[in-house]
Symmetry: C2
Subunit: 179 residues, 2 copies
């Protein structure tokens, strides 16, 4: 595993940037290679097909989300309902992951709808893992769906909340999480 290269992540970053800039349909191997500053040969050495590149984008997205969630849970020692709160905050954090989520999801589903299956599996896992004492299943689901809805609206660029409203909604979601 002599990982001397940093082209790998570099290329993934470039792919995300390209998708955000020109749309998933125009994410071509050439454009990604150009953006990453490597030749197409270099790209194809790291990701031997376009589909493999897309899969890598999706799994990096999942990994990033997971890491952030864990970190957030650890920070909230003893707080009530910290699992679901960390989930909400990770999903709606305004960091590189927003863009990452957008581009990976859009590129994957545009190219081959099957590629998003790992994300669905991940969602299933959370739905089962997150326990919310004092909250029925429906209430829990609604809170998670609202957070997901806001996130996906932003991913698809159809969000219709301003910054203040967004903050208010997040605060309310956290309050509701406590039951």
């Amino acid at each position: 595993m002599g990982k001397r290269k940093n082209s790998y992540d570099n290329i993934l970053n470039a792919a995300e940037a390209v998708v955000l800039k020109v749309g998933a349909a125009h994410m071509t191997l050439d454009s990604v290679a150009r953006k990453a500053g490597v030749s197409k040969g270099g790209l194809l050495y790291n990701f031997s097909t376009k589909e493999i590149l897309l899969k890598a984008m999706v799994s990096r997205l999942i990994r990033c989300f997971e890491e952030e969630r864990i970190k957030k849970i650890a920070k909230m020692k003893e707080e009530p309902a910290r699992e679901i709160k960390a989930h909400i905050l990770s999903m709606l954090a305004r960091n590189c992951r927003t863009d990452r989520s957008a581009s990976a999801l859009l590129a994957a589903i545009a190219y081959n709808p099957k590629l998003v299956e790992p994300i669905r599996k991940d969602g299933l896992k959370f739905m089962a893992e997150i326990t919310t004492p004092g909250l029925g299943f429906e209430r829990k689901a609604i809170i998670l769906l609202a957070a997901m809805g806001l996130h996906l609206q932003e991913v698809l660029q159809v969000s219709c909340l301003n910054e203040k409203q967004r903050k208010g909604v997040i605060t309310e979601l956290l309050r509701l999480s406590e039951g």
Copy 2:
């Protein structure tokens, strides 16, 4: 307006079918024409560019949703909070519009993110129009976001509720709508 036989809607239907089947990235003019049973020339007679075809998909989606919403509101005479309820039910109805929504949205955003702007505008309009006496803005927004979240999860094929859970969530959303 002597409408001789016209392939217009036929082509839009074909475009939706193609997107659902092979992914937005593989929705080509050729494949749409083939599916619609017309030549590419015939397609380009009706939609002179691919972007115009995508725009037509988006605006038909908006029109369909609006029609259904209006119909549902009319049916619910006197019921409390019928506006928001009709909105929720229209969004989550399992009919041709689910697929329509999926394909139009995915194809549009893949090709050119700007094409979804009309959908955002539409969302803004609803957020302003829908009044829910006895419900603060945040609560209203959360209900609408949860419905939207479920819908978008289904559009993106990352939904993780089974049929029974889905029904329970919708029922709870309607209950919450009454304040």
